[in-house]
Every structure is written in structure tokens, then in C-alpha cells.
């Protein structure tokens, strides 16, 4: 049975939300908000007339929230069922943020997304998933990263796009994975530059003798096939990437801690530096691990969401200051949402429908597509109502066109003004 008191609380919450908007106008602080809120955003509003440049000059930055982000505690649906299903994990109404015109309460760690929302630059997708969406991390991750559900994954959706659009692989830094090498950016043969750890991306030969690096390149020139051929080809790629990234990620200005609360901050800062360096990078893929919150979810999830929000805010602010923000679109994904009802460990188990987003000046309007219907759960999970591939299709159109990188036609949901 549902708790009538909770339902009342939820209605109260809705009432308060309207009040908060008014309070904001008269300078009140009914809700926790950042002091440097929407008015400080340096990203230009999407309504401005713009072309976003030649597609080849654009960058897609993917933020992969690995482990299964809890959608329900990210954008909180305003219905009484929420607190019934989440007696301890439910975020208190008075801690949620309200974004203007958004029917969901927002996790307090996402304050840094509000300027994007107000500028009309967030398209969110609630109930995102794939057919036969799996509750297994690995099956789900493979399906999301390959965009080929139900088939053994051998390549990624971005990797196939990269191969289709530049078969000769002549732009070495076109795709860079940050934090983890990812299947998503691997083609049938090509692979992205992988920066596992920003601090150590340099080659240090014995005694500084660069002849050893030359030998490394020379060893990469063989023509064998098979694994030995792949191992050989890896050598010049590594040398080339170090040379081309020289002075870009190692000499970034600014304090990494401004980019977020944990180690992932260095990834966002490096991403900004790479985009600003204008070295032909079209795909940046950041993996942020830890979203598998089976226990003690509240503090862990709060920090992870802050990592994403602060990282994106600083990234776009920095890019705007240097005039690069217009050519960047961010895509947020996670392999599944989590079970609606909490478990006994103050956490949530693997679920189904998740929450994804596109953020950037090219987004047509701030809106949530799909939704979270707590009265229509599927085996205790949010239903999947939007196919992940329709969002990928938008991302690929941003880059210039899907080029059959994803099998089928997924162009039904157009959320960009390009």
C-alpha cells in the first residue's frame, strides 16, 4: 500500500517548486543553488544563429558512466510512488534542485548543469535502453558500446563511423579514449589513442637517447598480419600520439581540482586541452567508473554526479572562453538504469531503463524525452521507451552523418538544431 503522507509530500514538493522559481526572481534562496548560477554562464545561448562550423571540425565528447547510473535519483519523478519505493534512498524533496520548466526534481550534485538547462542546451532521454536490455554489466556494456544488441561485439559504433569516414586512418588523433580504452571507439581494425593516465603520457628512452624511439618506430614497419602485425602497428601509433600530444595534455593551465572532486577531473581538463589544441580530434570518450551502487549509494552517487556535472561545466566554460564551445557536443550514457525499489544495503541493484543526455550549444531546446512512469514498471524496473540508437544517431549527425555505422534507420528523434 502506498503511503498517503508521501503523496501529500510530493504534492507539497510540486507547490514548493513553483514557489522557488518566484523566490528566485525576488532574490530568495529557497533551494540550494550555486552562487555562480545561470547568470554566470559564458556558453552562448542556443537561440543565437550559428552554424557550428564544418562537421569535420566538430567534436563529440562521450561521458560513459560505467556501472549503471541510477536514473531515478538523477532526475527525480514527481510522484508519490518514489518515496514509497525508496524509503531510505529517496532524496528529500527540500534537497532537490528545480530547473525552470523541468517536471523532475534534480539531484543536488547537478547544480552545475542548471546553466545548460536554462540556456536550452540539455536534451535528456529518460527510459533509454536497447531491445532485450540486459541486467548484466558486460552484456549491456557490449550492446551499448557496439550498438549491436544481441550480436557478439567486435567493434564500436563510433569506431565503425571513424573507419567509414576516414578509411585511410590519416588523422591520428581523431579518436581518443580517456581513462579507459573503450570498445565504442574501436573499429573492425582501427583503435583510438588511449590515454589511461594523463600524467604519464610520454616516452622516456634510456639516457634520453631518442634513437631508441626511432627503433620503436622502425619495428612498427613490418607487414605481417595477425596478432604480431597488430602488435607492430601499435608502436608507431604510440610514438605519433605522444609527439602530437606533446605539450597539450602535459601543460594544461588551471587547477585540476576545479574540474571535479576526484581523479576524473584530470580527464575533463585534458579533454578541454585536446579540443582547444585543434588537432583534429572528433571523438573523445571518457569513462567514469563506479556507478554500480549496490550499497551505500547516497554519498557515492552524489560524488559521481558532481564529477560529471562539474567536469562538463568547467569543460564548456573553458571552451567558451577560448571560442571552442560551439563545436562541441557532449553525450552522457550508462549501460542501464537501476532497480526502482532500493535493496537492503542502502543501494540499488541492476535495472533497465536509464537516463542519457546530449549537452551543448547545438541542442535545440532543453527538454526531457521519454519519461519515468513509476506506475508502469517492468519487472520492477523503469521501462525502456527510447532506443539508445536514436540518441547515437543524433551524435553521428553532429559529426556529419551516420554513414551506416549503426544498422537500421534511427533518425526518428531529432533534437539538434544543425
Amino acid at each position: 500500500m502506498t503511503n498517503p503522507l508521501n503523496r501529500f509530500d510530493r504534492r507539497n514538493f510540486l507547490g514548493l517548486a513553483g514557489g522557488a522559481a518566484v523566490a528566485g526572481l525576488v532574490g530568495g534562496m529557497a533551494f540550494p543553488r550555486r552562487a555562480d548560477g545561470a547568470e554566470n554562464l559564458v556558453v552562448p545561448a542556443a537561440q543565437d544563429v550559428r552554424t557550428f562550423g564544418d562537421p569535420a571540425s566538430r567534436t563529440l565528447i562521450v561521458v560513459d558512466m560505467e556501472g549503471g547510473n541510477d536514473a531515478l535519483n538523477t532526475f527525480v519523478p514527481a510522484t508519490g510512488r518514489y518515496h514509497d519505493l525508496r524509503p531510505t534512498l529517496g532524496l528529500p524533496d527540500d534537497e532537490l534542485l528545480t530547473f525552470s520548466g523541468l517536471e523532475y526534481g534534480v539531484h543536488p550534485s547537478l547544480a552545475d548543469l542548471e546553466p545548460f538547462w536554462d540556456a536550452g542546451q540539455i536534451a535528456a532521454f529518460y527510459g533509454l535502453g536497447l531491445p532485450e536490455q540486459s541486467r548484466s554489466h558486460f552484456v549491456a556494456q557490449d550492446a551499448w558500446r557496439s550498438a549491436q544488441p544481441g550480436v557478439p561485439a567486435t567493434s564500436g559504433w563510433l569506431g565503425r563511423w571513424l573507419e567509414a569516414t576516414e578509411p585511410d586512418d590519416e588523422i591520428p588523433l581523431r579518436a581518443i579514449s580517456l581513462g579507459r580504452d573503450t570498445l565504442a571507439a574501436q573499429g573492425e581494425t582501427g583503435r583510438p589513442v588511449a590515454i589511461q593516465s594523463v600524467d604519464n603520457y610520454d616516452l622516456v628512452p634510456p639516457g634520453g637517447n631518442t634513437a631508441v624511439i626511432d627503433a620503436l618506430v622502425a619495428m612498427g614497419q613490418g607487414t605481417e598480419g595477425g596478432l604480431l602485425g597488430e602488435a607492430r602497428a601499435a608502436l608507431p601509433s604510440a610514438v605519433q600520439s605522444v609527439e602530437q600530444l606533446q605539450g597539450i595534455i602535459s601543460n594544461v593551465e588551471g587547477d585540476a581540482t576545479e574540474y571535479g572532486p576526484d581523479d576524473s577531473a584530470t580527464l575533463f581538463r585534458a579533454a578541454q586541452a585536446i579540443i582547444q589544441a585543434d588537432v583534429g580530434t572528433q571523438v573523445l570518450y571518457l569513462t567514469i567508473n563506479g556507478f554500480d551502487t549496490h550499497s551505500l549509494q547516497l554519498p557515492i552517487h552524489a560524488q559521481l554526479l558532481e564529477t560529471v556535472a562539474v567536469g562538463l561545466r568547467r569543460l564548456f566554460d573553458g571552451l567558451a572562453e577560448t571560442g571552442h564551445a560551439d563545436r562541441v557536443l557532449a553525450l552522457g550514457v550508462s549501460e542501464f538504469g537501476r532497480r526502482v525499489a532500493e535493496n537492503g544495503s542502502t543501494g540499488t541493484d541492476h535495472g533497465n531503463g536509464g537516463l542519457g543526455f546530449l549537452i551543448g550549444p547545438a541542442v535545440a531546446e532543453s527538454v526531457v524525452h521519454g519519461g519515468a512512469d513509476l506506475d508502469d514498471l517492468v519487472q520492477g524496473d523503469l521501462a525502456t521507451t527510447i532506443d539508445t540508437r536514436t540518441v547515437y544517431d543524433n551524435a553521428l549527425r553532429w559529426l556529419g552523418g551516420a554513414e551506416d555505422a549503426i544498422e537500421g534507420d534511427w533518425s526518428s528523434l531529432n533534437v539538434l538544431s544543425i
Binding site: E66, G67, S134, R135, S136, H137, F138, V139, R180, D181, R191, V193, A194, I195, Q196, S197, D199, N200, Y201, D202, L203, V204, P205, P206, G207, N209, A211, V212, A215, L216, A218, M219, G220, Q221, G222, E224, G226, L227, L228, E230, A231, R232, A234, L235, S237, A238, S241, V242, N289, D292, H294, S295, N343, G344, S345, T346, G347, D349, H350, Q379
Partner: protein, 418 residues
Amino acid sequence: MEERKALGWLGRKITWGFSPGVFDEWQGLGVDRVVDTLVDPDDHGVPERPDPFAEIEFDPENMGRAVGQGVSAWVLGAAWSPRPLETFMDFFWSDYFAVSIRSVRPSTFMFAHMNLLSRHGLGNFRDLLHDVTIDAAMLQFLDGTTNTAGNPNENYGRELLELYSVGVGNFTEDDVKAAAVALTGWVAPPRSYGARFVPRRHDDTPQTLLGVGGVNDVATVIDTVVEQPATHRRVVSKLATAILGPDHDASVTAGIVDRFGEDLELRPVVRSLVELGVDGAAAPSIVEPLPWLVTALRFVGADPERLGRDGLRRLGGLGAFFRTSGQVPLLPPNVGGFPEPDAYLSTSATIARFNLGALLAQRASRYALEASDDVDRLARTLGIVDGFTPTTRDAVGSLPAGPDRIAAALASPDLLVV
């Protein structure tokens, strides 16, 4: 297979390189005797491995330090292991169960976990899985400690079925729930001696798991999953992939699966797979960062005065190597374990190998330096019995004998594929 080649494969794939003189010693013994000694060291008077964690001055107030101490102690134990096949199996199981030392408090529980894997690594799979299931480190890692009557946490139950036994496609969501309920009641508080069972936290209600009724505790859960033919196939397939490479011909293991199903003994399975390997059934595979490191250490570190245990501790650089390579022992990135081996062809892993190889080459023993006088001898000393491929040979030979040449050889594609 020709004996010399068989020994080369055995040394590079299974024992992770050759210490000085070992190859000659093996040639004297013959391949059958070498395999027998590796698989059954007790029968050949090989000294037991010391507990790698015994000398750690453990400070419970400084967990960050304990993690670093634990990882380096284990790596050093691996590098100087008198029983390299047992070390190979430790690493295999640590990847199979993929407990992260970062999730375990105190770290001594993780040390006990690794020692548990050593104890059962070539023993009986039923005993191994039973003891891992109620091991303090695992209980903390996958939330068994908060899996209680009335509030089941599915985390361990799901991975038990998906990763540790039958595998994807061979269980249902109801099986996950049944396993979780039957495994309720175990705790492993950080300030305690380890795991214990608390009857009032346990739900004794008989469950149906994989079609078997009456499952209501650890013993019945484990008995049920280990008797499944899918489990036998999965365990043998994992072992065969580790020993014979990801692309081995799966048909050669059919008889081994049947044999394993009879008594769940691991040693005969491993023996059969290693024998298949020396008979030429192994497919090429990438040498992962840890085996690569041990191979390099065995080669350059022959002189204990120059690079003994203490010398390696002073060397430093290991942390950067592991982080950049993407493989930190005892710290797998997620519950699925380390990435597939070809992930280590990434630019980042290539840089990690080059830099550590360069560092080690500058501290090479006289044995290694002398071997570098002749390029072909250098290859043979590293276990590449047919010598380098022509491209590699030319590149390595273009450098002067000594550290430069050794650094290039350690970074060569030839050493990366076995």
C-alpha cells in the same frame, strides 16, 4: 612441437620468462619433466612459495599505503616465485573473481583472499568457489555483508551465476534472487578477524535454484552451481583461453570438460591444457602487462646485488607502469576483471612498457648486458627461440649493445606476442 619451441612457449606463456640458466636447465630435463615439475612441484621437492604479504608492516590507520604495499608485495612474490605455475594460477583466479583491494577493509582481508586463491588454485573448484563465496574480501566486495533476510542484495548472487559459474544465458532473474536469499546472513566487519555467519540475518526458506529445490545455504548453492555442465564448460573455457590463447581451437578441450565434470579437480585440467600447449595447440596471444613485467624482470634482474627485492623497491616506476598499462594487479577495473588481452595493444600500454623497459635496461645485470652483445642471443635469452623477426632484428641491431638495445628488445612486438 620441436622441443626447443615447446620450452620457449612454456617459458614465455606459463612461467613469464626465463631467469638466467633456466632454459639450459630445462633442455637438460626435457619438456615432459619440466611440465611435470611445474604442475606437481610437491612431487619434485620444489620449495613452497613464501607468503608475499608476510613482511608487510601493516598500519590499519593508513589504508592507502596498505594498498600500495599489498600490490607491490604480491608483484615481487610473482617475480621471484619458485612455483611459477602456481603464480600463473593466482593471477588467473584474481582476474576470474576480480576482487579489488580498494573495496576491501582492512587490506589484510585482501591478503587472506589472495592466499585463499593460492591454496585452492590447483585444487578442487567446489572448495574454491565455496570458500570464496564466504571469504571476507568477497563478502565486502559484492555486498554479501549486507545481504540479509527480508532485504536480499543481488550483487553476489548475480555475479556467482554470470561470472563464476554457469554464465550468461544459463540462468534467470529468479535464479539470481534465489541465490541471493540462500546466501543471506554472512558478515565481515572491518574490525574483526574475518567472515562469520549470523543465523538471525539468514533466510532459511528453501529456494529453487537452476531447477534444483531445497537450496537454502552456502553449501547447497555451491553444490548446485558446480554440478551444472555449463559451469564445467565455462571454467575450462576460461582456463583454456588463459593458457592456449583467446583464439585456440575449442574442440580440443571437449574431453577435458567431461573429465572436469567428474570431480571438479583443477590440476588435471591445467596439466592437460599445458600439455596441449607444448604439443602446439596454443594460438598466439598478447602478453599482458604483469607477465610482460615479470618477463623483463627475470631477464634484466638476474644479479640480486643490482636488482634484488630491495633494489626493485627502490626502483620505483612500477605504480606508473601499472596505471598507464591499464592493469594494476589486485585492482581490476570492475567485477569482470581485467580487459581482454588485446586491450594492451593500446597506445597507453605501449608507452607504459617502453618506459619501464627503458628504466630496467639501465639497471640490467651483466648477464643481460652480455646477452645484448649479439642480437640473436638477446632474442634467445628472452625466450624467443627462433630469433627476432627480420624487421625487429634490424631495428634492435641498429642500436649499440647495452641498455639501448635491451630497451628496444623489451618494447619489441616479438616479445609482446607468444
